[in-house]
């Protein structure tokens, strides 16, 4: 979580400096959802995610250097610089991609779950979506399919409560997302997305159900983003006090660190060491991204398609 926070704070500044083409969506404040989910998953489990996916990607285990280089749209990034902030992926390791389209990751993860079931693999697929994606039809089409086919699928709403600048409650009929999902016929929970242990508990139970052939689960993890929808945006849609209140009282890192210190699982000194370590890792990632070469323009037509359809099959 600390690594993600440090990454986002540094990336935010770099983005304002113009290093991140197309801008970026910071996940600062939402770390417990990503780390909570990913710490329960096995490396081979599949995720597909959203336009705000740095935290999911880092938590899934991608090297921060490769993530930062992709943000810079450099050739050493995970997508060779073709995707930047919204298109982080590592399909081989079960990361089926961030996505520029709201709700699209849900369907892709559902499709991966279909693949898992088809091959009888012992894995699950997790689709991330924001509160904004709760009001697009494709999300619920995918949920319905996961239910009727009993797929090993977990839908995690990384619910930061604002769809760009629109307060979710204002645009969400019935408001209660778990209740809405229950109508689709799957176990559904509204949980505290700032509490990593709570996230872990619900995801772990969902994963067990999925592996035991009991189908999909819906988890609405309520969280909060500290920054604007996009870096540099300072809207009037919420008060400074509201943001401050979440930062001060419900920060996922501070509260978890305090709990661990209270439980004597960690000391203040450990926390400082950890902080220093993430600062240096992210500094290294930044240097790597800055020094990495731009993608070659001559590669622009590479792997658009296979180029093999015109060849006679042997």
């Amino acid at each position: 979580m600390m690594l993600i926070r440090q990454f986002e704070e540094v990336a935010d500044r770099l983005c304002l400096r113009g290093n991140v083409p197309g801008g970026m969506h910071s996940s600062a404040g939402q770390e417990a959802v990503a780390v909570g989910v990913m710490s329960v998953l096995e490396p081979a489990d599949v995720i597909a995610t959203t336009h705000r996916s740095h935290h999911h990607t880092l938590a899934k285990g991608m090297d921060p250097k490769v993530v930062m280089a992709e943000l810079f749209a450099k050739s050493t990034g995970c997508s060779g610089g073709r995707g930047a902030s919204m298109h982080l992926a590592d399909v081989e390791h079960g990361h089926f991609g961030g996505n520029g389209i709201v709700g699209a990751g849900v369907g892709i993860a559902m499709g991966a779950a279909l693949g898992i079931q088809y091959r009888n693999d012992k894995k699950v697929a997790v689709g991330f979506v924001g509160d904004g994606g709760m009001n697009t039809g494709r999300t619920w089409e995918a949920v319905n399919m996961a239910v009727i086919w009993n797929l090993p699928f977990i839908l995690v709403v990384d619910n930061n409560q604002y769809a760009v600048e629109t307060f979710a409650d204002r645009v969400t009929g019935g408001r209660d997302l778990a209740k809405r999902a229950l109508g689709f016929g799957l176990p559904a929970f509204n949980i505290d997305g700032q509490n990593i242990r709570e996230v872990r508990k619900y995801v772990s139970e969902a994963r067990e159900r999925a592996l035991n052939g009991k189908g999909p689960t819906f988890i609405n993890a309520v969280t909060y983003r500290y920054g604007g929808h996009n870096v540099g945006e300072k809207g009037q849609y919420r008060t400074k006090e509201e943001v401050e209140d979440w930062r001060r009282h419900r920060d996922p890192i501070d509260t978890f660190a305090a709990t661990l210190i209270h439980e004597k699982q960690m000391s203040e000194a450990d926390l400082i060491t950890l902080k220093e370590s993430v600062i240096s890792q992210i500094a290294e990632a930044t240097a790597f991204a800055e020094q990495s070469p731009e993608p070659k323009i001559s590669t622009i037509l590479d792997h658009v398609d296979s180029g093999r359809l015109g060849l006679l099959v042997k």
């Binding site: 599949v46 597909a48 997508s79 060779g80 073709r82 995707g83 298109h87 992926a89 399909v91 089926f96 991609g97 996505n99 520029g100 389209i101 699209a104 849900v106 369907g107 892709i108 993860a109 559902m110 499709g111 991966a112 779950a113 279909l114 693949g115 898992i116 088809y118 091959r119 697929a125 039809g137 494709r138 089409e141 995918a142 319905n144 399919m145 009727i148 086919w149 792997h303 658009v304 398609d305 296979s306 093999r308 359809l309 015109g310 060849l311 006679l312 099959v313």
Partner: protein
């Protein structure tokens, strides 16, 4: 219809050719499965997968709710996982409900992540009865999208050969089968016969001019070619078979050989693939042209439910005859 050699053998239909190709490839590759509406029992609305569920089971022929976005998303996600789905959208018009999944996901994942998406999206297409919302000609739009390939077979032979090629590769392929050809019978190839994409096929040789087309319009073009014989105009008819990849070599050599070319389909003329073919052939072969390349297409109107009206809007034999005379007179 029967073969000339053996009048008792009934040739397979266009739809049965699809079944045959899919069945052979499903036997070869257990990762191929079909997902769509009304497939398992009904065999699809055009009998295109009839009997396949009974043979391969309902894990490999999945009946889906009418959820086009999720159907294609299921295809994309499972293809990324390593399967080779055939998503049957029934009518190509229904692809609008899955347009993000097709254009923003399936077509771009290889580009973004260097990850193949082996996916066939099959749908019935073309102008016939069914009215405005079941007769869109979307082929030029899909062909225009980087990352997608588009098959538009005319003969049963090519239905089978092209679907087999699509299933032996790992690209997202839009496989459009014309409504009015569904029941047309013809020879098909065997297990090892694959038709490559991007290779046109000459259906009829001629010496004066070439008609370049695809799908059902070829039926009309062939009739017109016969008609033009009476006027001593010898017409070659070229079936493109796929629109992307497009056989630009065949198009350019027709320009070189005849200098007189007609390009036709039943899409609204404005913005159709016939414009692309005409423009690129003109750029490359201008000095060989003896007259302008003439395009024949539909008017800029949705397709009417009244068949007299809808038939009137798409190319007729007479349109080809007039165009041929015109280009011959240059």
């Amino acid at each position: 219809m029967t073969t000339l050699e053996n009048p008792r053998i009934v040739l397979p239909s266009y739809s049965e050719a699809f079944q045959s190709g899919v069945r052979e490839e499903m036997n070869r590759n257990k990762d191929i499965y079909i997902l769509g509406t009304d497939l398992a029992e009904r065999g699809g609305h055009f009998a295109q997968v009839k009997g396949i569920a009974q043979e391969f089971g309902e894990v490999r022929v999945k009946d889906s709710p009418i959820s086009e976005a999720a159907m294609v998303a299921a295809g994309v996600g499972s293809a990324m996982y390593g399967l080779h789905p055939i998503i049957d959208l029934n009518f190509i018009d229904f692809s609008f409900g899955a347009m993000d999944e097709i254009i923003n996901q399936a077509a771009k994942i290889r580009f973004l992540f260097n990850q193949p998406v082996p996916l066939v999206i099959r749908a019935t297409s073309g102008v016939a009865s069914g009215g405005a919302q079941h007769c869109n000609s979307l082929e030029s739009f899909f062909a225009h999208t980087p990352g997608l390939s588009v098959a538009v077979p005319y003969r049963a032979w090519d239905v089978k050969g092209l679907i087999k090629t699509a299933l032996r590769n790992d690209d997202p392929v839009i496989f459009m089968m014309h409504k009015k050809l569904s029941g047309v019978r013809g020879e098909i190839g065997g297990d090892e016969v694959y038709v490559p994409f991007g290779k046109a096929n000459s259906l009829r040789s001629g010496s004066d001019l070439a008609i370049i087309s695809y799908g059902y319009t070829l039926v009309t073009a062939l009739k017109a070619a016969k008609e033009l014989e009476k006027e001593n105009i010898s017409v070659e008819v070229i079936d493109l078979r796929t629109l992307y990849p497009l056989d630009t070599d065949a198009i350019n050599s027709a320009v070189q050989k005849f200098g007189r070319v007609i390009v036709a389909d039943e899409a609204p003329l404005f913005g159709s693939i016939t414009g692309e073919i005409t423009a690129s052939a003109t750029e490359i072969g201008f000095e060989h042209l003896k007259g302008p390349i003439i395009r024949i297409g539909a008017g800029r109107a949705p397709i009417s439910a009244n068949s007299n009206v809808s038939e009137a809007v798409i190319p007729h034999v007479e349109d080809f005859v007039v165009a041929a005379r015109k280009v011959m007179n240059y």
